[in-house]
């Protein structure tokens, strides 16, 4: 997908005034510091990958950005209702059809024209022919696309995705990314967390590296490789070397 990623990278406005801006976010769970003074910004149509080892604070960061959790310190300049949020596990009702799920969450999101929002997302997620099927009968990939579609019902300028491609096979993952690229092309800023470092390199214009709740890096994948001193090598190797350099 380098071509797709490149096409996104060259979008005008990717580095324009940010539609998402968070500064100095900190969060503690008891004695454990889950986030420490983390800042992040994303412009329209920009793809931002949040990467890091297990327990780095990726999900906590996205939850705070989405307004699910509150930060102990710091602030998010963007209001939660301007942020679409897609949790890691599909958040939908198996006993409802695809269209019923979309309709319910459109109403709960306060969409002005429910049916228009449902129709738009059925088309955008390419689920029109499955509209009347129960969500429990969908494949993992289709469920995840429905999951993303629910997050987009209110047409937010920013979409937050928590591990969107986890548990998907390569073909399903490919279709999901096509869908996400389409959103970015239309100007939606997409911030996603992932374990898959290669996926971050291929799709993101900006990567944010977290470890033990601390932001260690923010910049393009190429810049990360440059920091490590291996601008032509494997990104995953560069990422591991970077963490080692920083004592993680």
């Amino acid at each position: 997908m380098p071509d797709e990623a490149a096409s996104v990278t060259t979008r005008p406005g990717a580095h324009a005034s940010p539609v998402l801006e968070a500064t100095g976010l900190s969060k503690r769970f008891g004695s454990r510091e889950a986030l420490r003074d983390v800042s992040l910004a994303a412009g329209p149509g920009e793809l931002v990958a949040v990467i890091g080892p297990n327990g780095a604070g990726k999900t906590t960061l996205l939850s705070i950005l989405a307004g699910i959790q509150s930060a102990d310190a710091g602030s998010v300049a963007t209001a939660p209702d301007r942020l679409g949020w897609v949790p890691q596990q599909p958040s939908l009702y198996g006993k409802l059809t695809v269209a019923e799920n979309l309709r319910l969450f459109a109403r709960l999101d306060g969409c002005a024209d429910t049916e228009a929002a449902v129709g738009r997302m059925l088309d955008q997620a390419d689920l029109r022919d499955r509209a009347n099927d129960l969500a429990s009968t969908l494949s993992g990939g289709n469920r995840q696309r429905l999951n993303v579609a629910i997050g987009l019902l209110s047409e937010p300028p920013v979409l937050l995705l928590d591990e969107p491609s986890a548990a998907l096979d390569p073909r399903q993952r490919e279709r999901l990314w096509q869908f996400i690229f389409g959103l970015a092309r239309e100007g939606t800023a997409v911030v996603y967390s992932t374990h898959d470092v290669a996926e971050a390199e291929r799709h993101a214009q900006q990567v944010v590296v977290l470890a033990d709740g601390e932001r260690l890096f923010s910049g393009s994948p190429r810049e990360l490789k440059r920091v490590v001193g291996d601008s032509h090598g494997d990104f995953e190797a560069a990422f591991v070397a970077f963490l080692r350099q920083r004592g993680h």
Binding site: A66, G67, I68, P80, W85, P87, Q89, P90, S91, L92, Y93, G94, K95, L96, E100, L104, F105, R107, L108, D109, G110, I150
Partner: protein, 449 residues
Amino acid sequence: MRWLLAKDLRILGRSPLLVAMLVLYPILIAALVGFAVTSGPSKPRVAILNEVPPSANTIDLGGQRVNVSKESKPLFESIKTVKVHSRAEAIRKVRDGDVLAALVIPPDITRNLEAATAGGSSPPHLQVFYNAEDPAKQTFVEDTIKARVQDANAALAKKFTQVAASYIRLLSTGGSFSFAGSSFDVLGLRRTESVLRATASHLPKGSAELRGLKQVVDFAVLARQNLGLATGVLNAVGTPIHVDSTVVKGGKTPLGAFAAAIAVTVTLMFITLLLAAGGLALEREENAFRRIVRGIVSQTGLLVEKIGLAGICSGLVALVLLAGLSLFVTLPWSRLPLWILALAAAAAAFGALGVAMGALAREVRAASLLAIMASLPLAVLGLVPSGAVSTGLYDLIRVVSAGFPFRATLDALQSALGRSGGIGAPLLHLVVLTVVFTALARLALRRFA
């Protein structure tokens, strides 16, 4: 919030097995509880071997013919009799469990009864055979037979009292008396007195004969007056103690209405707890909770929706159950608004308890298990009557029971169904419990996601 309610109802509608289980299971439990609480086996099956020949059913009691079979009818009124033709058959039926006990009426019972009333020393005996493999059953059978024999004894005693009283009347006032086919005229004390007074009027005043005769007249008067009191004494001996009962606590709820209140309370509790607890936990299992409360629905709004969902479903089932029960027991339909008020308050309180359970358990299976496991002790605690346990334990049970909606629901429904006490206090109690459990659920939601 109405969209969430519509969603939940749609999901319920697509789970027919769950709906069937939620409706049928509590109704079955309710029917069993109601049956167990209100109807003991009042007509036990008892085998009867009557060895008394038909010709010996009637005994002669001082010239009066008394039909023993007729007078001992109470013995058979409250048992379901199974006729047998031999002792062996009677014993076999007891051993096989066909009957609770066998009652053998020996052929000489009426003769012994007749002899006993004539001053004989050998009282009549009945023989009872029963199965003692179950101590509880043995006690029940013994008590039942003893109570029935006492009823029969009381009926016979009443008859004997009547016969004895008729003798006394005969002695007092005179009349005719039949014995062994012959008829006798008894003068009686009253006529004796008249005859003596007439005789005395012909005797010279101050004579020794007149003085003697006056003593006899005085005795006749005294005897007649005291015999007049004897009838009352005999009646008192026949039924020495009468029972006057006064209700000092609780109302006069008919037994059927009480059973209906129990059945409906149990049904309401099961359905509401399971739906509220399971419904809330399902939002977490479907990963939908955080997404929902990000939108226009607040966490408290979500709790209210689950309480409403569970309350509407259980309230409807409870109303249908009451309508069904009214085919068998008399229920005051004129008090329907009170039924609905009691059901609504109870459903809200149980719903609040259910969402608290769901929020604490967090998983559908754990929440359902918790709801079921909590229901049975709550019902049992709410049904313990005063006097069944020690005072201290009963006070403790009352305190624990007051912390949950079962007892208050039962009180409210009893009041609504049977004019038993005021409905205000139990309704207020249910409202307080609703607020407390909703607040507890709201607190538990902090660690729900």
